[in-house]
């Protein structure tokens, strides 16, 4: 088991390096010179051109921008006029990518273009909010959809099953940002019902008791969590139903029925247990999808999460912030995949690495 986990973790290393290279490649192709963002255009100081260049050089040295970009580089061969044949140069480990990547692993995400402060200080609290919202949503989605899926699999063909089917189908097609806008318009604005706040995460005074703080935050998060939950909810219910229908046709269910077990016991103990496995792997799909969906919900409800921060970064042309959050999202996805793999391996010992055709 431990061996399986270690090998699984090792599998993620090339993927993570690939992601970092993709992000670094993008960061090297953004419009504008990154150095311009860190050098002040101070017109009051009568600075000569040379002085300014030397100041730029100092800042570049500080940020590591004077180093070569990658481990190796190609240059146009100056001797001949054909740019088709490159000249390869090895740069060693003292390069920008190496510096950025090692710093990233050590928790130094670089400096923001906007306020020139380390990005790390801005990212920890949004990470908490995003994780909170997403984990609650996924938990809720699983808690509601498993009973619903089992129930409608049991009642296949009945009117109730058909109507929930249609309802789930509609739910699945509703764009999250539309639902969020509708909810704000009809449940959180003065012209209609003002039941919920239109945005933000809390509005309590500092000396409020823990319970009232908790209630206040959950009052604020009710609408956003609803918006991030429902897609996952519709999707998981569909899968639970399909998986249940599959296992209800199996021989052991017939045996259990013939044995004279009660209907509930057949359904919940024998049926559900065996259709739980696909639900575990579902987590590795639902988790990144929910994070991606929560980005726009965070922006609409002005929740200070990662999605909103990335959006602000994009609007303020604060590229390092955007890339850091993209990397964070990737890390979360990889961790989610890892967790679902490990749970699956625990639940079903037949799983081995070489059987996994991912």
């Amino acid at each position: 088991m431990l061996k399986y986990i270690i090998i699984r973790i090792l599998y993620f290393i090339p993927t993570f390096v690939g992601i970092s290279m993709l992000v670094f490649f993008l960061s090297k192709h953004t419009p504008g010179d990154p150095l311009d963002k860190f050098v002040d255009e101070d017109l009051s100081i009568n600075e000569s051109y040379d002085d300014k260049q030397s100041r730029r050089l100092l800042i570049a040295k500080d940020l590591g921008l004077d180093k070569p970009v990658f481990y190796f580089e190609f240059r146009k061969n100056e001797q001949n006029n054909y740019p088709i044949i490159p000249k390869i140069k090895w740069n060693g480990f003292n390069n920008q990518y190496h510096r950025w990547f090692t710093n990233f692993i050590l928790g130094d995400f670089g400096k923001s273009y906007f306020d020139r402060l380390p990005i790390r200080s801005r990212i920890s609290s949004p990470l908490k909010w995003t994780l909170l919202i997403n984990l609650i949503s996924i938990l809720l989605a699983y808690l509601i959809s498993i009973p619903l899926g089992v129930y409608s699999a049991d009642r296949k063909g009945a009117l109730w099953e058909k109507s929930t089917n249609l309802f789930l189908y509609f739910l699945y097609s509703i764009p999250g940002f539309w639902l969020a806008t509708l909810l704000i318009t009809f449940l959180a604005s003065q012209d209609f019902l003002q039941l919920f706040p239109a945005g933000g995460i809390s509005s309590f005074s500092r000396d409020a008791s823990f319970i009232s703080k908790f209630l206040n935050v959950s009052w604020h998060l009710a609408l956003p969590i609803f918006c991030t939950t429902y897609v996952a909810f519709a999707f998981i219910t569909k899968q639970v139903k399909a998986s249940m229908l599959n296992s209800l046709n199996a021989d052991y269910i017939k045996t259990a029925k013939v044995k004279g077990l009660s209907k509930n016991k057949v359904l919940w103990k024998h049926g559900l247990r065996n259709s739980l496995f696909p639900l575990i792997t579902l987590f590795s799909y639902v988790f990144p999808a929910t994070i991606a969906g929560s980005v726009i919900i965070e922006i609409i409800f002005s929740i200070p999460g990662m999605g909103r921060l990335a959006y602000e970064g994009l609007l303020q042309q604060d590229w390092p912030l955007v890339y850091t959050i993209a990397m964070m999202g990737a890390i979360l996805t990889l961790i989610g995949n890892l967790i679902s793999d490990i749970i699956y391996a625990c639940a079903d010992p037949r799983v081995q690495l070489n059987n996994q055709n991912s």
Binding site: H29, P175, F186
Partner: protein
């Protein structure tokens, strides 16, 4: 292809929701083609001082470079001129037409009438832009971006997915020169990207298109050259190139970054997104899903008898793959494409909702819906544009389901 198209219509018309989906798509396609004739600030036909004008056709001809713009009074809007005779579109606004006197008016509120303006069946948004005509003109961006992005994604996904699934890890054999050339092609790709924009920014969408073409073309060229040289010297093919492993790692990298965050990261390298760059970006985000489906289907097909026989009669592997195996793997691709179009339309709408979409002066559903955020009391701005997005997404999802046989 013809029969499968007929089949689809037959299947769709069997259920009520299928007929509904079919009707919705037909309606949006109608809007897509005739948007300029249903909602436009110019008349279809007008007679002014004895001279006839066909402003909408005139604008089309001018766009094609066939004729000059004809205008009876160049310093006036069409709306302000009184004509002897004129035929107007159903709505005299083109989605972005400004009607300042009717700022944020609901569908049932009284509106200020000026000339032909003042009829807004679904209300108005910021600066009195008409919601109904915005929705009609918005179908253009939504359908073009949705369909073209998925077409492009399908091409990339089909290519990579089919070679990954067909060859797997152990059947793409190369001789020594083949291996050498495939390594060289990787290095050359990096060099190519260096000379094409080493230090320069990507200026327009054409640059991106060139990159994608090179990305596909350079390895193919190198592999082909290596193959020829091996053939020339008679080297035995004894090395495996683990295509499946490589392509699946690339897909894993692309899929690890959650959708919208990857889009944000890709948007950083574009100054002002145009329709073409949006299509390219969405295609870049969407191809891994299609490639995965094609690969899974190929894994099944490559073991079937007709592929074995195609190999046995001595067809080259590219012919067995692209002529015999690929057409049989199209069914799941078409299903994923239908779902993919829905999600691409959704992505485009969310981007323009966040003011990151097409920056040109084109009305989109997302832009209309985002108006509701500035004025939450304008319920018609929240309901109608969102309904258009929802119906379109619903219809394409339904087509996917019908094709899937559910």
């Amino acid at each position: 292809m013809q029969s499968s198209g007929n089949n689809l219509i037959k299947k769709l018309s069997q259920t009520r929701s299928g007929r509904f989906a079919f009707f919705i798509i037909g309606l949006f396609l109608f809007f897509f083609v005739f948007a300029d004739f249903i909602a436009n600030e110019k008349p279809i036909y007008a007679k002014h001082e004895g001279q006839s004008y066909y402003p909408i056709f005139n604008a089309y001809a001018n766009g094609l470079g066939l004729s000059q713009i004809k205008h009876p009074a160049p310093n006036k809007d069409w709306n302000e001129i009184t004509f002897e005779k004129s035929i107007w579109p159903l709505l005299p606004y083109s989605g972005i037409t400004i009607d300042l006197k009717n700022n944020y008016k609901g569908p049932f509120e009284a509106k200020v009438k000026t000339n032909r303006f003042g009829r807004h069946p679904l209300g108005t948004g910021q600066l009195g832009k008409d919601v109904a005509s915005g929705i009609i003109h918005g179908t253009r961006v939504a359908l073009i971006v949705g369909l073209m992005a998925m077409l492009l994604a399908a091409i990339i996904g089909l290519f990579f997915g089919s070679i990954a699934g067909y060859f797997g890890d152990q059947s793409f054999k190369l001789g020594p020169f083949g291996i050498l050339f495939s390594c060289l092609s990787l290095l050359y790709l990096i060099y190519w990207s260096y000379i094409s924009f080493g230090g320069n920014e990507i200026k327009n969408a054409g640059d991106i298109l060139r990159n994608i073409l090179a990305l596909l073309g350079i390895p193919t060229l190198f592999l082909f050259a290596g193959h020829q040289i091996d053939g020339l010297f008679g080297f035995r093919k004894k090395f495996y190139l683990p295509l499946d492993l490589i392509i699946m790692r690339i897909i894993e990298v692309m899929e690890a970054i959650p959708g919208l965050l990857l889009l944000f990261a890709l948007l950083t390298i574009i100054n002002r997104p145009s329709m073409l760059s949006l299509i390219l970006i969405i295609a870049l985000v969407k191809w891994p899903a299609i490639a995965k489906f094609v690969r899974a289907e190929m894994l099944r097909i490559r073991g079937l008898l007709f592929i074995e026989s195609s190999k046995a009669i001595g067809n080259p592997s590219w012919k067995s793959l692209f002529v015999h195996a690929l057409p049989n793997a199209m069914r799941p691709v078409v299903i994923t494409l239908a779902f993919g179009v829905a999600s691409a339309i959704l992505l485009e709408a969310s981007l323009s909702f966040l003011a990151l979409g097409v920056s040109e002066e084109i009305m989109t559903w997302g832009k209309l819906l985002s108006n509701a955020r500035q004025k939450p009391s304008a319920w018609w701005l929240a309901v109608f544009p969102g309904l258009a997005i929802f119906l379109c997404v619903f219809a394409f999802n339904k087509i996917g389901d019908v094709l899937d046989g559910k």
